[in-house]
């Protein structure tokens, strides 16, 4: 009996399906797609936001945020959102890393560089209604620096540790104390002068969170429900899909934000993201393939937006490995790299050849250094002088993933490989999975390698010392270049108190680097974004994320 019911059900299901399929399987492939045809006019995705409805900005991006408590994060995708929910004590200018007031309206620095007094903006409220004041600033810094603080999390705060020499009680810790002078004045006392102190405070990670919210929720939950003073309030997070923010009507910067709602939408595939923009499902996208830039320019409904460059893609030498320990060999390879050709071919022209390990957009860049031109004869001659008239064999590590500073590591490596062949150097390209790549290059297993860096705060130290100081061997100095002279200058620059003094030191360091060639800086890329043509006042910041309070539709 039961069996009959089953087979009857099966039969009717299949008969029904056959009817649905239009009795003829020949149209199998097209049929389902034809279904919505009748509805076509009604189904067109909204090309423009409704004129009278809320003003929404849908932003397409490649990856989801990791967390939304800025101090717990180190990744760019997280900051793209937190920049809109939180404010920092000081900020950066719209398109540069010059420091401007934000939550602190003005500040005084003692001549010895050990005390900083900040005067805070009055009448600012957190999204949960609590007051922003000197107590809140003190509480946030205490939470970050004091490992025994109840809301300090077990993994620590990576950026705090890096920028301020560890935590409270550590030998090199910079901040001695944060004191409340009056409700709107807060004083920082330092253990030692730190030249980039103010610059650091503007970094996205040092955003001021609502103490009440963090205490009530705890760091884990706060990481998913952020509460700050920023232009937008957090609404909802659908992981790997969307993060929704809404306008903060009480924002201290009167007249802003312009949008009622921001939605950050994850669309991993670059091409699919551009399709979504073209079809009107999103209004703005980042991570445009350099190759698609022309198509965006040619489309009257779209505009191309270029982010000022603050990155570096380079070819590094592990100077501990033979024959790369010989500066002449390194210089020979530097002569054999055709930078303009690489930029034309792989960055679609969206970038400039790099001379120094830091981009010209950062102060202290040494513009007097004249780059080695592409010259295979000169390269060959240097190799002969170094004792390798017939060249040598070498392993050349290429990045497996695309990064803004290196759109296609393997292809770029192949291009360089061709040139090296002409001077007798046989480079064998090696590649592996990204996390392994980072780990192994950190451990110094590589010979010649491709890598890059995106700046965090616009300070020269963040490029020069991070990438090439001997203290960072085993860390981000993957060339393992240990130059005493450069190290001495970099350390001096870290504790120098005036910008002029630091600038002089950095100019010298860059000369030493250029002469000794621990790396061949290849390019400073210009990351490209695309948006609807009617989007205005979007000012991309070189550090990679920015507040969208001023963005509007025409």
């Amino acid at each position: 009996m039961k069996k009959r019911v089953f087979s009857a059900a099966m039969t009717s299901l299949l008969a029904l399906s056959m009817l649905l399929a239009g009795c003829g399987g020949s149209q199998t492939a097209q049929k389902p797609a034809e279904q919505p045809k009748t509805e076509a006019p009604a189904t067109t995705p909204a090309a423009e936001p409704a004129k009278n409805g809320p003003k929404q900005l849908i932003i397409g991006r490649g990856g989801d945020s990791v967390g939304l408590d800025p101090i717990q994060q180190t990744d760019g995708e997280s900051f793209k959102v937190t920049e809109n929910v939180f404010d920092t004590l000081v900020g950066y200018e719209e398109e540069s890393t010059a420091v401007v007031p934000s939550l602190a309206e003005k500040w005084e620095i003692a001549p010895d560089g050990l005390t900083y007094t900040f005067h805070l903006r009055s009448g600012v409220k957190f999204h949960d209604g609590t007051e922003f004041n000197a107590e809140a600033v003190k509480w946030n810094f205490e939470r970050w620096m004091d490992k025994s603080h109840p809301q300090h999390n077990k993994e620590g705060f990576e950026y705090y540790n890096d920028m301020f020499g560890g935590y409270k009680g550590d030998k090199d810790h910079v901040i001695k104390s944060v004191d409340v002078v009056d409700p709107l004045t807060v004083k920082f006392t330092l253990n030692r002068p730190l030249a980039p102190f103010i610059q650091n405070l503007g970094m996205s990670c040092f955003a001021i969170a609502s103490p009440k919210a963090v205490q009530e929720m705890g760091p884990e939950k706060f990481n998913e429900h952020p509460v700050g003073t920023g232009p937008f309030k957090f609404v909802e997070w659908k992981r790997n899909d969307t993060i929704t923010l809404e306008k903060n009507p009480d924002y201290w910067n009167a007249g802003y934000p312009k949008m009622d709602k921001l939605v950050f939408k994850v669309i991993p595939e670059n091409t699919a993201r551009l399709t979504a923009l073209t079809s009107g499902e999103i209004d703005l996208m980042d991570g445009l393939n350099p190759d698609d830039a022309q198509a965006v320019k040619d489309n009257p409904d779209l505009q191309l937006i270029l982010r000022p460059s603050m990155n570096l893609g380079f070819l590094g030498f592990n100077v501990e490995k033979k024959p790369l320990d010989n500066p002449k060999v390194r210089e020979a390879i530097a002569y054999a790299v055709n930078k303009p050709a690489i930029i034309e071919a792989f960055f679609a022209g969206l970038g400039q050849p790099a001379v120094n390990p830091m981009p010209p957009s950062i102060w202290g860049h040494n513009g007097n250094i004249k780059d080695r031109e592409y010259n295979l004869d000169k390269a060959k001659q240097l190799l002969t002088e170094a004792g390798f008239p017939n060249g040598f064999k070498i392993k050349f590590w290429a990045m497996p993933v695309a990064r803004p500073y290196m759109p296609d590591g393997v292809k770029i490596a192949e291009a360089i490989q061709q040139d090296l062949k002409k001077i007798g150097v046989e480079a064998e390209i090696v590649t592996m999975e990204w996390a392994t790549y980072l780990e192994k290059t950190k451990a110094g297993e590589q010979e010649m390698f491709l890598l890059g860096w995106t700046g965090d705060n616009g300070d020269p130290d963040n490029f020069l010392a991070t990438l090439l100081d001997k203290n960072n061997i085993g860390g981000n100095n993957r060339t393992r270049w240990a130059n005493e002279e450069a190290h001495k200058l970099l350390m001096q620059a870290q504790s120098a108190t005036t910008k002029e003094e630091r600038e002089k030191l950095y100019l010298q360091v860059q000369e030493i680097i250029f002469k000794d060639v621990p790396m061949v800086p290849l390019a400073h890329s210009t990351p490209a974004l695309a948006a609807k043509a009617n989007l205005v006042d979007y000012k991309p910041h070189p550090k990679g994320s920015e507040s969208l309070e001023k963005v509007d539709f025409k």
Binding site: S7, A21, P32, A33, S279, E439
Partner: protein, 334 residues
């Protein structure tokens, strides 16, 4: 039937246990340090060592395994190293998204695949048969990636009929209750939203369903051909039954056994193997969740994610086996 079912269900225990060991070991074999990947390329060596310690990564592997097993038994899938959130909670929406997509894809694959297969067998060597099998051949060998991008380009960008990415319209998002958006919109009685959700399912559903559709069509065809040569079918025809009923009532039931296997297998495969489709269509599913976790060396997520998928896979197979025994009683005596 009951004893067969019980036996079959009890067999799940060693299977699941074995699976957990395999998953656990494979993950340990992936090169790369989770602490480093969590902290990122800018981390200092000391911070990495501290984190390894905090995460228990310095403990011997068997202690890590038993700790893990203990957690799983209590329904705790662990905490994601990357996001710091509970996996049990986190995986829910992803699983729902993928399941919804898988169901739609399989519906598409089964409806079209089975019928095309039947008609091909029915009209063997006709132009329809040739066309259908050619399409099936193309379908099997079609790269999902390419198909997905072409669909988007044609139906979303050029014709603007269908949305290209996501599960819903971000300008008017679905209020999630159960995380199954079709169900959610029905529960809320929002019919325009339901239509919106269905529209979002069409392109990824076709992209994901094309390969199974082609496989099912081919299997159905060959299975039907075999059955239609059987004596009882000839008898049915001889007694003057209309061809339609011969095919759909008599032949189909027996032909369905191998097809059912394929459907079961394919459903399981889709559930875990939707990474490409989910990537292209920005679908917040479990495939991409695990895939991203692999990149992040997020051990707990990889482990638990694969375990959940594998468990569902095993359960689908169980269901198929039970259905078998139901259709063909001889099976349960073997």
């Amino acid at each position: 039937m009951l004893s067969y079912s019980i036996r079959r269900i009890l067999m799940l225990i060693p299977v699941l246990l074995g699976m957990s060991i395999v998953v656990f070991s494979i993950i340990r074999a992936i090169p790369g340090d989770p602490a480093l990947t969590i902290l990122g390329e800018k981390a200092s060596p000391k911070a990495i060592e501290d984190l390894r310690e905090a995460l228990g990564l310095n403990l011997p592997w068997y202690i890590q395994y038993f700790d893990y097993l203990k957690q799983i038994v209590t329904g705790n899938l662990g905490v994601s190293l990357h996001s710091g959130a509970s996996i049990t909670q986190e995986i829910g929406p992803y699983l729902a998204a993928t399941t919804e997509l898988t169901i739609v894809s399989m519906l598409f694959a089964v409806l079209i695949g089975v019928n095309a297969g039947i008609l091909s067998a029915w009209k063997q060597n006709s132009w329809f048969d040739y066309c259908a099998m050619l399409i099936a051949l193309i379908g099997v060998s079609m790269p999902i990636f390419w198909l997905g991008l072409m669909e988007q380009w044609f139906f979303a960008q050029e014709l603007k009929w269908l949305p290209s990415v996501g599960r819903d319209n971000s300008r008017n998002p679905v209020e999630a209750i159960t995380q199954f958006y079709i169900l959610d919109t029905i529960l809320a009685g929002q019919w325009d939203q339901l239509w919106e959700v269905i529209k979002h399912l069409i392109l990824p559903g076709i992209a994901l369903g094309t390969i199974p559709m082609a496989i099912i069509a081919r299997i159905t065809r060959s299975s039907m051909l075999e059955v239609m040569r059987a004596d009882y079918v000839r008898t049915a025809r001889a007694k003057g039954l209309a061809q339609f009923w011969v095919v759909y009532k008599h032949a189909l039931k027996n032909a369905m056994i191998p097809v059912l296997t394929v459907i079961g297998l394919q459903t399981g495969l889709l559930l875990g193997g939707a990474v490409l489709t989910e990537t292209i269509f920005g679908w917040p599913g479990v495939g991409r969740y695990i895939y991203t976790a692999i990149g992040n060396r997020d051990y707990p997520v990889i482990q638990s994610g694969i375990l959940v998928i594998a468990t569902i896979f095993v359960l689908i197979n169980l269901l198929v086996d039970l259905l078998y025994a139901y259709i063909d009683p001889r099976i349960k005596y073997r």
